[in-house]
Symmetry: C2
Subunit: 228 residues, 2 copies
Amino acid sequence: MKTTPPNIICTVDVVLLTLQDGVLKVALLKRDREPFAGVLSLPGGYIHAEQDADTQDAAMRMLRDKTGIASPYLEQLATFSGRGRDPRGWSISVVYYALVPAAVIEQAGHAEIVMSPVERIKGLPFDHQQIIEAAVQRVRNKSSYSSLPAYLCGETFTLPQLQGVYEALLGEPINKVSFRRKMEEFDVLEPVEGAMETGKANRPAQLYRLRKRLQSKLSLTDRALNTG
Amino acid sequence: MKTTPPNIICTVDVVLLTLQDGVLKVALLKRDREPFAGVLSLPGGYIHAEQDADTQDAAMRMLRDKTGIASPYLEQLATFSGRGRDPRGWSISVVYYALVPAAVIEQAGHAEIVMSPVERIKGLPFDHQQIIEAAVQRVRNKSSYSSLPAYLCGETFTLPQLQGVYEALLGEPINKVSFRRKMEEFDVLEPVEGAMETGKANRPAQLYRLRKRLQSKLSLTDRALNTG
């Protein structure tokens, strides 16, 4: 007699990262149902086969519904799976990570989002701690050879501001000349014509923005940035 | 009235790669059931929640059962998903890739395995073509800054042989001095004491092997190899 194989729980979780005052933070939400009702966790939920075209689409829906954020830079991190990670049974979570400027989260105005410094997270349900660690690791690795950190900047920014974002992610100072050469090599920035940042003690600095075509694409280099 | 949500098909596929005569090849097998019965495709199948601890475990089982290969270097590539990729319905495939020396496949002796050059593959079912392209891309990217290609070598090899493997993967010549410096930096090789490769026209070369503890781990560098 053949028994029906147990269903596998198929979910998507999103690690939404931002930089606030030089600190990398992740968006957490209180779970509204069991298991772990009321506990802070990553935004996520079941895949809806009727409405989601694929898991990326499901992750977009999750972000939109739970954080009010519409079209960030979103990339698949990895899939976490197994018998033990969810008390309901054997489960798969396809995990995505998104990078947005802090202002985007504030403007979305979902008051229930808790932005938590990634270094100080504990007590998360499931394997969400491990998922966040993997996402932070990926973002840090990728930052050393790509334009990824630019997605954490506001719409316009100066080169010193962008360098500050890289340094916050990499956790160490970057050589300024090598940084500027790398940004030219990436070819992802364009100057905002006639726009300078003023009002600071320093001399005014040119404002830049991400090229339109690159707002959801990444530019890579085969050589890491010179730090230290 | 609430209808039961349609089940999601949960599978695992494995991209098993090897290098034969300097050509990167992928293992394909004829499917033994519908859909696409008799058509060459990646080794894969349903996750068995009763016996697989997680998807990595399922991938290991798939490899063992379908190719006879026991414990290769295996890494998660990505998850492919959606409504359209499988005629049976909304599906998820968690994809792993494995790198093994050609001799391991020959010794496993599964005669039905077809080793196909990755550049000449067509007519695969599902999105297997796209999956193989993603795996090859990942292996090539990762080869430029890691010890990954060593998993394609036999148990022992000379440095010129290993350099040849890197060059075959990267598709271009590598500077010999920079290559040897990088291998020292990786610190993944150990000389096989007293063992030299002989019987060639050249002078005998020292034989090396992967350090035991690294046989399923990867060593990374933050700077790509100098090619060209």
